[in-house]
Structures are given as C-alpha cells and as structure tokens.
Symmetry: C2
Subunit: 670 residues, 2 copies
C-alpha cells in the first residue's frame, strides 16, 4: 500500500510522515494513546491545514479563523502535531509530555488547555455537533454584521470525524439539522477506516453513510482515497463551493505504515510497541530518531505563520474600513466578540417583579425575563428541542434562524436534545454569542453529555429546564423528573438555579448571563402562589440561600425549600409561627452558590446550633443531608412519579404545608 | 379530506372512528392529553390490530404474541382504545379515568401498569429502540429453541413511530443496528404527519427519512396514504414478506376530522375543546354520545378474542408436541421464559475468589465471573458499545449474534450507548432473556434515559460500567467519571454496586442476577491490591456495607470506602491501628442495599454515637453526607479530572492512605 500513496522524496510525503511519526513517538513515550488514527488520517489533515485552513498560529483566537474540530478526539496527537508543526505555542517538550500531569497535550483535546484547540472532544459525536454549532454561529454573525465588501466574518468550519462519530445518534441529529439549515460552509472529512475497537465495523455498521447524509440534504463526495493528497485536495476544493454542508468520505487505513498492525483494531488505542515502531520506520523509510522533525518539513509547515499574518492583515484592513464606515455596528461587533453585555442590559428587569400581581409559573416568568433581556442583548440566541411553546423560550417579534434567514434568533432544534446541547456548546466556543437551550427537565438526561462538556469547557450557556417536578401532572412518570435536579447539581462547575418566583427568576437570569460557565435554570410548569416581595425580604439568589421569613430571629427550627416548594414551606412556617414556634424559612435556589459563600454567611443562614431542620423539594432527596444534617427531616420523592393531576400528586406524595407542620411538631416534640 | 378516506357506513370506517372518538372523549374528560395522533393514526392502528396482529386479549403475556410498541407514547389513548375494544382487561371506566390517580390508563403507556402494554414509552425514540430489542429477542429465542415444524417462537414486532421518534438520535442508532442485523420481522409504521409542537416539521426536519432508512439497509414502503385502510393493509402484507426490517411511511393528518384544527400543532398536546369536539362529531358524522361504542364496532373488535384463543390453541398444540419430542429443550425453554436461573448456576463462583492470588482489576474479575455464569445460564446475553476488549464482557468460545447467526450470544452494539441501553430494555421486556450492556462509566451519561426506563419498568438488566474513576488515567477528563456514580445512585429503583475486589464482584453479580430490576456494576480499569479474604471477614455485599476490618470492636473512628478506595482506607485504618487508634474500616459497595437494611444493622455498622467518620471515593462527594454526617470528612473529587497516569492523579488529588491518616488525626485531635 505504501507505494500507492507515497511519492518518495516529495515534500508532501515528508510532511505527512512527519505528522505520523510525531504521533507515533509521542504515544510510544507516553506508553498510552491512539496512534492508528493519526497514522491513517495524516494526509487528510495535512492537506487541509497546508492548503486550505485559514488560521494564524501566532493568534489562535483570531476571530475570523476557520474552525477545525477533531471530533475523533482520541486522535489528539494528530492535532498536537499540526499545532506544533505550524507554529502554535506547543513546544516539542509539550509533545514529549503527551498525556502527562499538567501538560498542554492531554489525552484528548481540551479547549482552554491547548492553544488552537477549538473544543474539547473525545466523547464521540460531540465534536461533530459542536462544528454544526460553529457553522451556525458563523452564519449568524456574518448575516448580522457583514456589509457589502466588508465580510468581517467569513470562515469555514471543518470537522474530522471517525466511524465512531458516525455511529453515535447525536451526529445523526446534528447532521439532520445542518442539512435542514443548509450550512454550506461546514465541511466534514470522514475518516472511514472500517475499524473500531471490537474489530471490523461490518459487524455493527453496514449502513451506507454517504446515502444517509444525502438523505439529510448534505452533498457527499467520495469515497475517495483519503491518503492521496491530490484526491483530498480536489475534494476539499469542491466542498468549499457547495451550497450544502459537505461530507467527504475518505477511505483510509488505520495505522497506515505499520507492517503488521495497519488495518487492525490493535493500532487504535495502544502504542505500537518498540519493535513495530522500528518496522514502521523502515517501511516508510523514516530514518530519523524519535521526535525529529526534518528541517524541510518544518519550514514548510511554518509557512502557516506567514500565511496567518497575511490573513490577519487583510482582515484588519477590512475591520479598519468597517470601523470607519459603520462605527455603531463596529461597537456592537466588538462587544459581541468580547462577550460583554451592553450597558443597562438588565435595567428593565426589576420592574417585572413589581408588576407581577398574580400566581405565575416560573417558566412564564422566565419567558418574560428572557424576552426583556434579549431585547437589549442581541448576542443572546437560542431555542428549544421542539418545546418552545411549553418552555416559553420563543423571542417575540423576532425571526427564526432558518435556511433563508441567517439573522433570526429563534432556533428550532427539533426533537434532538442531545444535538441541541452540543450545538450550543459549539456556538459558545465559536465566540460572539450567548446561546440558550430549552426542554423539559426530564429530558436533561438526553443531553447530559453535552451539559458536562459545557461545564468542562466553562462556557456561558443557559440551559432552561421547565416542567421541573411531579407538578407536571398527567403526563406521568416518563415526563416527571425525580433524579434530574440531583443530576444537575452533581456536575462540577455547573450552577443550578431553581427559583421560587419571578423575583428569584430575575436574579437567576442575571447570574446566568454574568457567569463564566454554564447555568441550568429549573422552572415549574404549574403556577405558583405569589410571594409578596413587598412584605418579604428581597430575594438573594446570588448567595444561594437566604432567609425568606422568620417568626423569631432566634429560631428553634429551620424549614428549607427550593422553587415550587418554597411557598409550601413558607405556609408551613407561618402556620407554625402562629402556634408560637420560633421558625425560620429559608429559600435555597442554588446549592452551588451557597457553597461558595464564606462560612460566616452559611452559619448565619443555617446555624450549626439549630439541628432541627426540614427540607422540602419535589425531587429525589439525594444529597439533602448536607443541609438537613442527621437530626432533620428531608421531604422529597424516593421513587418515580405517577400520572394524575399535579395537585393530586403533591397531596398524595405528602408535599404539603400540613406535612411539614406534622414533621416539625415531631422534631419539636410537640 | 373526509370524503377521500371515509367509506360511509363501512364497518372499517365505523371502527376507525370508534378509536378516534374514544380517544377524543377520554382526552376531553381528562382535560389533558394528546388527541391529534390517535385521530390521525387510527386507521393504521386499526388495520394492524384487525388484520395482522397475533395477540390474545385474554392472555396479554402469551409468549408468542406479536409485539406492538407505541413509540410515540403520547398517543396513549390510541393504544388504550385498542386494548379496551379488543377485550383486554381495560374497562370503559378505566378509559374514563384516563390520566387520573391510580388508573390503568396513565398519560403515557406504562409496562406493568396496563395489561397489553409491552413497554413504557413517552420519551421519544425509546419505543423504537425497544422494538429492535424485542425483534432481536425473538430471533435469538427462535434460533435457539425452534425445531423443524415446531416454531414455538415465531412472531413479528410492530412499532408505530412519529416524526419525533425519527428525529431522536437513539432511533438512528437502533435503526442502523436493525439494518445491520437484517431483523426482517421488525415492521415500523411511521406516522408521518409533518407536525411537531413548534409547527411544521419543515423548519427542523427536511431530511428524507425513507432514503435514510434505505441507507441503514431497511426496506422502505411508501409514502402511502396512512389513513386508507386498504393501502395500509397492502403495505403491512408486503412488509411481512421482506427480508429486511421495513419502514412503512404513512402520511397522515394529525387531528384528522377536526374541521378547524386538523393538520395543526394545536391538536397535538391538548384537548380539542367542547366546541371543536362537536364540530368534529358533525364532520365525521359521529352521532353517538361521549364514550359510546357502536355495537357493530365492538363485536367486530372483540373477534380479536376469538382469534386470540385460536392462536393460543395452535401454539399450545405445538408446545405439546415439542414437549414430547424434545423434553430437555422444553425444560430449558420453560425456565428461560419464566426467567428462572438453572439450579447450581452460581456453584462455581466462590472458587474463583480463592484462586485469585494477584492484584486484579474489578473489570477483569467481572469478566471471569460473567463467563462462569454465562456457561451455566444460557439466557444471559449481551455485549458492549464497541468496548468489549476493555469492559471484559466478551463471552469466550461463544459465537456473535449476527445477521447470519441468530443464536450467538455476544452482541456488538457499535458505538451507540443509548440504543444499547434501550435495546436491552426491549430484550428484557420481551421476556425470556437476561441482557447485559457495557461501556465506560463516563458514557453512562449517553444512555441515562434508557437506564431510567429499565428502572421504571423494573427489568432485570445488568449495566456493566468499567473505567470507573480518574484511575482511568491518561485519557483525561472526558473519559474520567466524576458525577456518574452519584448519577446512578440517584435513579429510583436502580441498585448500584461498586465492588472492591473479586469477592465483592462475585457477590455483586449474584445480586444482579437475582434482582427483580436493573443493576449497575461499577468496575475499575486499574488493578487493585488483593484483599486477603482468608484474613478478612467474607464480604457481605448484599447488606450494602459491612465491617471489613477493625482494630477494636469499640472504635472511635470509622473509615468508609467503595470499590478501588477500599484498599486505601484499609491501609489507612491499619496505619492508624498501629498507632493505637481504635478504628473501623467499612466497605460500602452499595448505598441502596444498605438503605434496605433494618435500622439495627445500620446502627451496628455505623453507630450514631461515632461521629468521627471519613469516607473516600474517587468521585463526586455528592450525597456522602448521609453516611459521614456533619462532623466527618468526605474525601472525593469536587471538580473534573485530568490527563495523567492514574496513580499520579490519585496522589495529586489526595486519594491516599496518608491523606486519610492526616484527616483522621485532625478529627481525633492528635
């Protein structure tokens, strides 16, 4: 096979083999990693980076760069090789530290850790879907800001994907959206090597991927020989002129060059081993010691820096002309790119609270607040997985983002929660936009992997989860979240907010917009009684928990609740107070924010001397021991829900003020 | 449109409208529900149930019945109507109690609640994937037990799916598997009505579903007029003769018959309203009061009971002949169908513990145990989402389940965790088999919705999750679970087991096989030091937690751990013991099982008088306060992991015996 693809002594072949052997050597040194994919896909990646990719190694975050996503994140050494070779701030020492503690070259690419890594990949299908989000962000920003002859945003999004990516359902979801939206500047290089961990993909994956993508509305090129640089060049050239997203099916050989292991699963996830590395060097006529980069190859790769500066200069010139011609738009553009909220963005929010005179669901409150914010923050865009009439996330008087209209801000993700989450991650890491995504809380489960990645990448994304408890009612246990709130709270870095009324919902939205990371808003379907904020202290969501009401500043018992249960524990507290109990009622919209408070504040709200405590949340009691302690009572739901009207379920499940009073009296020995 | 489809006065039309109006009336009475889908799909469903479905209303669990899955579970009234009309134990009162507390007719179909409901549906895509599992179970059982002319298992699996099902990624995964496996007795009726909640599906779903399914290897029939009984009849007849799974694309009109709402999203999820119901009655010339079933229709539908008895009689005759001709096979068949484990199935397991002399990962231990059990329990089948070499779930010397070999027991699900979970649910609810599914613990997130449904349906399924902590090492944070153990523990009804060594792993497997519900086994990638069971008390996993070692029967401090951290807390305990501390070390493989113990036992293991407690688990500390209390120390990981060798991470993250000793000394004031 080597004969077929190599043009001995050609510069291209030298460069491709440089990538291969950097990858092989790094995996070998780390005694861990995935050499097979970089060896097979080196030519594809080389062509893209050498002949097409618009990027600037000196300024990895330059806004109008093409985006490159390695969806098959296990091929990380392919990407690190390219970053090092083209002159990013990744030294050969970093390459030698592949997969070691504190290195810039972790096992899978991590956004924020390594310059030039656009998104964190590894869990298959996520990168592909992120790329769809990036292509959407590009279209939106271009449509919003570009002016004739001043296309200040105009770039491609390239994604390299593997068989595994193609098998994951999230990829199908995202590909269908990309086809529907005709995201023509999205190009996927599909590294089709027919090998997965359990062996040949035939045993599990006999489908025709090309036909499948055509059905989604993609242009499909290939299968081509993905190790032939000219064939790949032709294909990418054609893809860039397409009026649809394009899939280039590149047939490759995993572990190409390894005499005994090429084309087998054994090159996928472990080092080749010293002997086989030697044989591979011999086979590909690579006579350099480990980690050696031939000068000729290096100087060729480093031309990327020169090209990069030229790209930037040209862009800067456009920007200068844009700034002069369209100063107002430029100001917006700059704020948007920097992710800065416009001054006064939240000035009309507090008024919404005072206006509220009737019972209201927090989803309705959220919808009103979202619309008020969106009117002032143009970079806030998003939508729902086919539930916007229920999640109240439609922006009123604002267009849809569609195939025809790229400046619409209402997104329709279809019934595809997982891709929705991952597309929002892609929009966020692209830069310039603040995405939100909404569905019912129970369907958070469908998108949990994307929410995790949002958190790992510390992206400002607002996940809006409505229908947050058995209060959903008749739809029954499949639609009633029980363990999902605990699920959200357990994700490191995510802030979960479950507001009790419009006042807390306003604050929750403010926190979400100002965070440097993702936020989950957990909202009710059902109306909640009005909490009279003229008589109750103003809410203090940013501290996570606060005293909502107390009958005595030296309480003997504390009642806690979140969201829809706050009014229940308040009623219980007032009943107890009328009977002479010294009681405090605490609203606790966010565990994570409360944990961030100084001990002094925590002790003020939940003094350790008061061990009589009751919490109520219409959800799994999981984790409430942290605040209730071992002497208190946790009122929650330790089983699945049931189909019945929501108020009946609350009653039958004991989620009532009377229930709290009974437990309180027991604790108090009355 | 009415003219086109109705054949006024025909019995078929009368029956179809009977389904429509029962559904309309039930939704109207409940003031909640989804009338549109039953109205549009009534004809399709009627044809299937009237002319094809092999079932016996008197004996809903008759083993060789055709399976019918309503993947679009929101159309539940369609199914309840059919169940009532054909004579299942669902009365008209049950229909009137649609969506009420304690009724047999919950908002979405629930397996175990309603006779004739094969699986719990509602979360879209799950039913479709369950159906793939059922078709697999049928093929496996048929191949295993049938004899020439004695096809004691020979049935179809029909699934009705909606646009929403088609959009969900899990459906793509399952459809690709079904195509690869050529599950020819699987027939999907796709109710293609072009409407979803946010409006016309064009805005999100422009793909060609038929071409997509062809790409998966399905036969595709249609689009046909899904409201024309003869066209549907022809299509189903053809599908039954196919040599691939078949998708029948049935164009329908959501809310068919409603003059003002047909074809709109407003019929999807709310009652039509009194006025529109009256207009619909008028339009379809339905002059009966609410909940009235015309005698002629009822007697026609009830012929299903007669047919059902005939099906059963014929089958019973085959069974009788089978029992005579193949008594040994029959005995197996009976045990299998009843889910009874063969006598002595676990007799060779304890020996495995004694043989173990070297450090071992619990994934390796599990693989050995699984193979030992599988040798004695032929109904145990399963596989992995392309990770069996890593999860150690391959059955040695056993064939693969493939297109060609239906009696293979090793399944290759491909990189499709979500469909894997849901297919296993389908295999389990089909009856006769005990499925297991495996992947890395972090990818539990990809299949969380299926695990939830396994739990809601109380199915005996074993979820094997390996690579259970930062001990995974170099693959980094995308592959290192942190919050997943808490995620599992929070699911109602699921039992999570994290064994510390081979002895605990043996017991864990026994528990999993004997449970009436799903179990998650959480296993290490890395080797663990041997726990010397000749010197330590035998493990007691079934009680959830037990005393592994103590320096004094009246301890002053308790150390707790699970899985890979047990040997660390044991070392710490022994160090402390050597320094005169009265210390107890508790191994706690399962919170759920410990919670089920009497208070006396719990108090024995964790006496409330001993408040100095330390837990260690290489995972989120979420929820450990339950056992550690407010005076103790929880050693866990409150952030994401990192890429480095596993032992380095343990050291840097403070997951060491020395770390425990330091905390213990602090607690003890030493």
């Amino acid at each position: 096979m080597a004969e077929k693809h190599s043009q001995p002594d050609s510069l291209d072949e030298l460069c491709v083999n440089t990538i291969r052997f950097l990858s092989i050597d790094a995996v070998e040194k780390a005694k861990s990693g995935h050499p097979g994919a970089p060896m097979g896909a080196a030519a594809m990646a080389y062509v893209l980076w050498d002949r097409f990719l618009k990027h600037s190694p000196h300024e990895p975050d330059w806004p109008d760069r093409d985006r490159f996503v390695l969806s098959c994140g296990h091929a990380s050494m392919l990407l690190y090789s390219l970053l090092h070779l083209t002159g990013y701030d990744i030294s050969i020492e970093d390459i030698k530290n592949f997969r070691q503690w504190g290195s810039k070259t972790p096992g899978h690419p991590e956004h924020g850790v390594t310059p030039g890594v656009e998104t964190t990949t590894g869990p298959l299908g996520q990168g592909f879907s992120n790329a769809v989000g990036m292509a959407i962000a590009e279209e939106y920003l271009a449509a919003t800001f570009n002016k004739p002859e001043l296309d200040i945003i105009n770039h491609y999004t390239y994604v390299m994907a593997s068989d595994g990516d193609m098998e994951e359902g999230i990829t199908s979801e995202a590909a269908s959206i990309a086809g529907t939206l005709k995201l023509k500047k999205l190009v996927c290089l599909y590294d089709d090597n027919n090998i997965s961990i359990e062996g040949n993909t035939k045993i599990t994956f006999s489908e025709n991927v090309g036909e499948r993508f055509k059905a989604y509305g993609w242009r499909v090129i290939g299968p081509i020989d993905g190790m032939d640089v000219e064939k790949v060049t032709e294909a990418i050239s054609a893809a860039r002129e397409s009026d649809s997203p394009t899939l280039i099916i590149c047939r490759t050989i995993i572990g190409y060059g390894s005499p005994n292991k090429a084309g087998t699963a054994s090159t996928h996830g472990e080092p080749l081993g010293t002997a086989e590395v030697a044989l591979t060097r011999n086979n590909l006529k690579w006579n350099y010691p480990a980690f050696t980069i031939p000068d000729e190859a290096l100087s060729h790769f480093r031309e990327a820096q020169v090209r990069g500066r030229a790209y930037q200069d040209k862009w800067q010139d456009k920007i200068n002309r844009y700034r002069t011609a369209f100063p107002e738009e430029y100001r917006h553009f700059e704020l948007t790119l920097k992710g800065i909220l416009p001054e006064g963005w939240d000035s009309n929010l507090n008024g919404l609270v005072a206006q509220q005179m009737k019972p209201l669901s927090t989803r309705e409150a959220s919808g009103t607040i979202l619309n008020a914010i969106a009117a002032k923050v143009p970079s806030l865009i998003g939508g729902s997985a086919d539930l916007s009439p229920s999640t109240k996330t439609n922006l009123k008087g604002v267009a849809d983002f569609t195939r025809e209209n790229r400046s619409g801000r209402n997104f329709h993700f279809g019934i595809r929660e997982h891709a929705m989450g991952s597309i929002c991650n892609g929009i966020a890491v692209h830069g310039g936009l603040i995405p939100y995504a909404s569905t019912f809380l129970v369907f958070y489960d469908y998108m949990r992997p994307s929410v995790r990645l949002a958190s790992l990448m510390k992206q400002r994304i607002i996940f809006i989860y409505t229908h947050d408890s058995v209060g959903v009612g008749e739809d029954g246990p499949t639609h009633q979240p029980i363990e999902q709130i605990a699920g959200l709270r357990s994700v490191p870095g995510l802030v979960t907010l479950r507001p009790a009324d419009i006042a807390e919902t306003v604050e929750s939205w403010k926190i979400a917009l100002e965070r440097n990371g993702p936020t989950a808003l957990v909202l009710t379907r059902q109306n909640l009684p009005l909490l009279d904020r003229t008589r109750l202290p103003f809410s203090d969501v940013k501290r996570g928990a606060y005293i909502l009401w107390e009958s005595d500043p030296q309480p003997e018992i504390i009642l806690m609740g979140t969201g829809s249960e706050v009014n229940i524990v308040l009623s219980a507290g007032q009943l107890l107070g009328q009977n002479g109990v010294k009681v405090r009622v605490v609203s606790m919209p966010s565990w994570e924010l409360f944990e961030q408070q100084p001990n002094e504040y925590k002790e003020k709200i939940l003094p350790s001397t008061i061990e009589k405590r009751i919490s109520m949340e219409a959800a799994s009691p999981f984790g409430w021991e942290r605040y209730v302690g071992s002497k208190g009572v946790i009122i929650g739901i330790n089983h699945f829900g049931t189909s019945a009207p929501g108020n009946v379920i609350y009653e039958k499940f004991g989620l009532t003020a009377e229930g709290v009073v009974i437990e309180a009296n027991k604790l108090l020995g009355r």
